[in-house]
């Protein structure tokens, strides 16, 4: 760079002539505009803004001007460089945006491709159905009680007021466990979850509010509507002053929770040894709500146009059962009900064949997912 020359006439410096600077600027702008790629722009950038570019060289000449001329020339060159840099940035932005748009287009994928790398698992609908029913009662303050599946006869029968000669105790229904030396072992596979009720009453002081879900056994051959191994949920409430109206209300609450607010139940007198009074409980058909009754044009498959679906048995705990558990029947009363989970699954989810629930075919189970 030349040293300042005080007698130097700026006008005489060729590179700093105004028209010369304008030309340099216009050339740079034209070059940027002409650059059609980031690489081309980079070349133009080096050529027109780099250290060897005409404007950079012109800038360098400013130092050689006399002080009075410096400001004027500096201003001219600075404005030109400013314009050039701005144009460069703008063109850079344009070209980058173009490139980005192109790359994103190139990176596009077919988002409809299926992805079943690890197929989903699922819980069995019988498990989740039991949980769902139990949770209705857990939300009301009930506890879930469990017990053994191989159970002493006393819990499964005697304590439930099922006398030794009751038909339910014969080989017809019950799996008996072999004792040693051909003797009666006094142990059966529980035929209902009611022994858990007995255990609950023996374990706790009233008030007792429990639900007992679980697996039970009867000696039925497997077919479309029977299985020797099935699932039940039973409820037991023992407290002071419980009534059949409370039983009815609890049942209504359950079917409303599971099937909708406009649901209700119906009780019909029946007989069970462990309850007195006893009843059969039906729920309103949740599909036709009873509208199919007597209307052959609108038949209902779910309830066979009966309007009601049979759910299970219920009643007031027989005071003899309370006595067997050491609960004072004069002071406490209770109600109980129970029903089969398989049946509920069948009518709630249109399962047509019981065997589908026991064979473990993943095609049956998968659609039920984690909750029901």
């Amino acid at each position: 760079m030349s040293a300042p020359n005080k007698s130097y006439d700026p006008v005489e410096v060729e590179a700093l002539k105004p028209e010369e600077i304008e030309r340099m600027r216009d050339e740079a702008l034209a070059a940027f505009a002409a650059a059609d790629s980031l690489d081309a722009l980079h070349e133009a950038k080096v050529a027109h803004t780099g250290p060897a570019s005409p404007l950079a060289l012109a800038n360098r000449e400013i130092g050689a001007l006399p002080p009075h001329a410096k400001a004027d020339a500096g201003k001219r060159v600075g404005m030109a460089r400013g314009a050039v840099n701005k144009a460069l940035a703008a063109r850079q932005g344009e070209l980058e945006a173009e490139r980005d748009a192109r790359v994103l287009v190139e990176e596009a994928v077919d988002v409809t491709l299926p992805y079943d790398r690890v197929p989903a698992g699922a819980r069995h609908p019988l498990t989740t159905m039991m949980e769902r029913v139990a949770d209705v009662f857990v939300a009301m303050g009930y506890e879930i009680a469990e017990g053994p599946e191989a159970e002493a006869e006393w819990f499964n029968f005697d304590a439930l007021n099922i006398a030794p000669d009751h038909p339910a105790r014969t080989m017809q229904d019950t799996f008996f466990v072999e004792g040693g030396k051909g003797e009666d072992s006094g142990v059966v596979l529980r035929t209902h979850t009611s022994p858990v009720q007995i255990r609950s009453l023996l374990d706790r002081e009233p008030p007792v509010y429990v639900v007992c879900p679980g697996r039970v056994y009867r000696t039925d051959e497997l077919d479309a509507t029977h299985t020797p191994v099935f699932h039940q949920i039973e409820l037991l409430a023992v407290d002071e002053g419980l009534t059949m109206a409370d039983l009815k209300g609890t049942l209504d609450h359950m079917v409303q929770s599971l099937f909708g607010a406009d649901m209700k139940t119906r009780l019909r007198p029946n007989y069970f040894p462990f309850t007195e009074p006893s009843a059969e409980m039906d729920m309103l058909c949740y599909v036709c709500k009873g509208a199919s009754v007597g209307d052959p044009d609108r038949p209902c498959r779910t309830c066979s146009s009966e309007g009601w679906i049979e759910l299970g048995g219920c009643g007031m705990v027989n005071p003899r059962v309370l006595a067997a558990c050491g609960v004072d029947p004069e002071k406490y009363s209770g109600f109980a009900f129970g029903f089969g989970i398989e049946r509920m699954l069948m009518f709630r989810h249109n399962v047509e064949d019981m065997r589908d629930m026991v064979e473990g075919d993943v095609r049956f189970t998968r659609p039920f997912g984690m909750e029901i």
Partner: protein, 834 residues
């Protein structure tokens, strides 16, 4: 119990417009399970008339004998000319009265009748069998031959009472009285608020000493025995149509007049009766328990060896009947030869339990035993005997013998005392004393008292024993449908227990990992253990066995979940699903070896703690387990690249998944354990109360097991005891302190002998590295004999170090790494790879 509506109307004046469906609804509401209402003759249309056979021409040359008949049907055919009819039956002769259906009629099942050509003749109608008319099987296997007194041309629809409705009622064990028209009529009368015309209200002569001698030696087993004799019976007499039709509608087959009458009275009054041919009974009739080894041939022709608990009816020679169940062949009324002209009628009352046991012991359930088991009205015995006598006199031309034998054990009616508001308290409804008393009276009780009601229950309601039984009667008659709906308020609950939450969590975690739950039967047999390759003394072979298994091949309860779960795997595989991951949680049954047969405890009071402990001690150990099985691809191949077959590591990982949910640390060691591959089997341990406990196994199955069970190749499995994991669980998670200082990463590759478990190397590194170690991860396993030497492997670990309070220097991190490597070298002989 099948109840023809026309018969029911005889005892209750039901509104004429009431249909069977209406009555059904009323009775259901009162607690009778009326399952169906059968519409008899609903689609039947005449003309159906009485005809008389005029001529019979036997047609030859057909596969079966065919008759061409002319039948006089009076003016029913409009002409009065004989009707020409072709008939395939042969049980009739010229002059017989038969039932003729004429063209234009419709028979049950929508079978339209028209003149048609058949066997070379034109048949203008049909001579009808009972079956064709929907009357049920009458045992003739031919057409109906009517008694001669019926006029030709009479409408047979009316005559044979072909149009009716029949209620079919499933009678619950407590309502034995409803196994009779009388009982059902009583319920119908209450439901309709009409009086009951009780068919048991008959004039009965007082007992005297001239009747057939009866000796009851077991007054507990038989508390009442009435014997009546009828002589001079016309052996030719047949049951009239109305009697046969009522029996048929009620589901019984007419047999002979005397038998039909006893059945009819049983249906009417609920009292089982037996008629003995008097000439075949020798000496006094007795009731006692059978003697050891005694035999009896019952009416069904089976010779039975009796138990000393069986109640028998005897004469001088020995047993002549199984009391309350079935009569003996040796005193049977002769209904084939028709020689019986004198009968002794038995109307007795037997102990329900004795009858139930005998019926079950001999696998012989009869109409009589079904009723005695459920309770028969003891007070109805003499009326039933009288009714039988009356009908024999009326229909068989007999003469009632003046002798009336009645042996009655003294008994008092049962009374129950209840507070008048007891039904109110049970129901949660204010019925009031008046309603309670009225309802109890309706069912036949005598009621006295004001606030305390003294209720005498009727003789036919042996089921009413407790205050709640009476409450039920009131509540059901007031209508279960009228109960209000209220909600009790339980104490605030605690939600699920930790154990219950764990069970749910485990299911969700495994399902989340791609496993599908299967719930398998717990039944298996020795073959399953053989297939699993269990040693003869393997504890899993010690099983709980069932007395009455569904299959003799599978008499035992599972001691492991694997056979059932592998069965489900094979089933899926066989149905074309080859990439499988299944899981199951459930109980296994392990005999404790200390089971004692518990004493039979009473059920009228709470057992003592010792007694309860004895009951529990009789049970096998029933721990809850979880198992998984895998086959095929764990990750599918697809557009993303290659798939990955499931392998032993997935099985072990499933155990880790379960353990993680339980908050238990899983210790994995190599093991050799059936049914797993001896080189690919992990034993799974957890720490319970400071002790390491074996909780399960995982890995690839033994190739022999895979072959024996026809499983897909390289099937893998895991089974672990959930109860142990629960005990090993940590409980509450302690939050880690999170340092925001930078991490220092160091990789090390260690060369060890191949058998050295990676878990040990990692444990040594972890311990040696000390507190600055944040995480350690094995990122490569490398085996190359040339580079590493024979029988050696290289394990490459990434170690991440971080301090809670400062940025670590390179020297600090290196020092920690060197300490880690040093301890690994000392413990496992590991050498830093050069």
């Amino acid at each position: 119990m099948r109840v023809p509506l026309s018969w029911l109307r005889e005892y209750v004046d039901l509104p004429a417009t009431e249909t069977g469906r209406d009555v059904q609804a009323k009775l259901i509401s009162a607690g009778l399970e009326v399952e169906t209402v059968e519409q008899l003759g609903a689609d039947l249309k005449g003309p159906l008339v009485v005809g008389q056979v005029l001529t019979i021409e036997e047609l030859e040359g057909f596969k079966k004998p065919i008759r061409f008949c002319t039948v006089d049907v009076g003016r029913a055919n409009g002409t009065g000319e004989p009707q020409e009819i072709v008939c395939g039956a042969r049980n009739f002769s010229v002059g017989d009265k038969v039932v003729v259906v004429l063209p234009g009629a419709t028979l049950p099942g929508g079978f339209s009748i028209s003149a048609r050509k058949t066997y070379g003749k034109t048949s203008h109608g049909m001579i009808c069998s009972a079956e064709e008319l929907g009357m049920g099987d009458d045992g003739t296997h031919g057409i109906i031959v009517l008694p001669p007194e019926h006029e030709v041309g009479t409408d047979a629809i009316e005559l044979l009472q072909l149009v009716d409705e029949v209620l079919d009622i499933a009678v619950t064990p407590d309502r034995g009285y409803c196994l009779s028209l009388r009982g059902v009529a009583r319920e119908a009368a209450i439901a309709y608020g009409r009086p009951l015309l009780d068919p048991a209200l008959l004039d009965v002569p007082a007992p005297n000493a001239y009747g057939h001698p009866v000796k009851v030696s077991d007054p507990f087993g038989c508390d009442r025995f009435t014997a009546r004799t009828v002589t001079g019976l016309d052996p030719e007499a047949r049951s009239p149509i109305w009697l046969q039709r009522r029996l048929q509608k009620a589901g019984m087959r007419p047999i002979s007049l005397a038998v039909d009458i006893t059945n009819y009275v049983m249906l009417e009054l609920g009292q089982p009766l037996h008629a003995y041919d008097r000439t075949r009974v020798q000496g006094a009739i007795g009731v006692r328990r059978a003697e050891r080894g005694e035999q009896l041939t019952t009416l069904d022709g089976v010779t039975r060896t009796l138990s000393t608990e069986d109640l028998v009816i005897t004469d001088e020679r020995g047993p002549i009947g199984l009391a309350g169940v079935m009569g003996g062949a040796n005193t049977e009324i002769d209904d084939t030869e028709g020689t019986t002209t004198e009968v002794v009628i038995e109307a007795a009352h037997f102990d329900p339990v004795a009858i139930a046991r005998t019926a079950r012991r001999h696998k012989l359930s009869s109409e009589a035993s079904r009723r005695f088991e459920r309770g028969v009205d003891p007070q109805a015995a003499s009326a039933a005997a009288q009714r039988t006598v009356d009908l024999l006199v009326l229909l068989a031309g007999g003469t009632a013998d003046a002798g009336v034998t009645e042996v009655v054990a003294p008994s008092a009616p049962r009374t129950i005392t209840i507070p008048a508001d007891h039904p109110d308290k049970v129901a949660g409804v204010s019925y009031g004393r008046e309603t309670v008393v009225r309802r109890l009276q309706q069912i036949g009780c005598d009621v006295y008292g004001a606030d305390e009601l003294i209720v005498t229950v009727p003789s036919w309601r042996s089921d009413l024993t407790d205050p709640n039984d009476l409450a039920e009667e009131v509540i059901r008659l007031e209508g279960y449908e009228n109960l209000p709906s209220t909600l009790p308020r339980p104490l605030p609950g605690h939600g699920l227990t930790d154990r219950q939450r764990l069970h749910r969590r485990v299911g969700r975690a495994l399902a989340g990992a791609g496993y599908v739950e299967a719930l398998n039967y717990p039944f298996l047999g020795p073959a399953a253990f053989d297939q699993l390759g269990l040693d003869a003394d393997d504890p899993r072979r010690t099983v709980v066995t069932l007395v009455n298994p569904l299959s003799d091949e599978e008499p035992a309860l599972r001691t492991t979940l694997l056979p059932g779960l592998l069965g489900a795997l094979r089933r899926n595989d066989g149905r074309g699903g080859h990439d499988l991951a299944l899981f199951e949680t459930g109980l296994v049954f392990r005999p404790t070896g200390r089971e004692e047969i518990p004493a039979r405890l009473p059920a009228d009071r709470k057992p003592t703690p010792d007694q309860l402990a004895a009951l529990d001690a009789a049970l096998p150990h029933q721990p809850r387990r979880v198992a998984v099985v895998l086959a095929g691809a764990r990750e599918q191949a697809g557009w993303w690249g290659k798939g990955r077959p499931s392998d032993w590591a997935d099985a072990v990982e499933a155990a880790r998944t379960v353990a993680r949910e339980a908050g238990a640390e899983l210790i994995v060691r190599a093991d050799q354990h059936a049914p797993w591959h001896p080189g690919r089997c992990a034993a799974l341990y957890v720490r319970v109360d400071g002790e390491e406990v074996l909780a399960g196994h995982a890995g690839e199955l033994h190739p022999r097991v895979v072959k024996a069970m026809h499983l897909p190749e390289r099937t893998c499995a895991m089974e672990i005891e959930l109860d142990l994991l629960e005990q090993a669980g940590d409980g509450i998670v302690r939050a880690p302190r999170i340092s925001s200082f930078p991490v220092a990463t160091q990789d090390v590759a260690l060369v060890v002998d191949k058998p050295v478990p990676a878990a040990e190397v990692e444990a040594a590194l972890r311990e040696g590295a000390g507190e600055l170690l944040e995480a350690i991860r094995l990122f490569d396993v490398y085996e190359n004999a040339e580079q590493l030497g024979d029988g050696r492997k290289s394990l490459a670990y990434a170690l991440r170090f971080r301090a809670p309070d400062r940025t670590l220097t390179v020297d600090e991190a290196s020092a920690a790494r060197d300490a880690a490597v040093a301890l690994a070298a000392e413990r496992t002989g590991a050498a830093l790879r050069g």
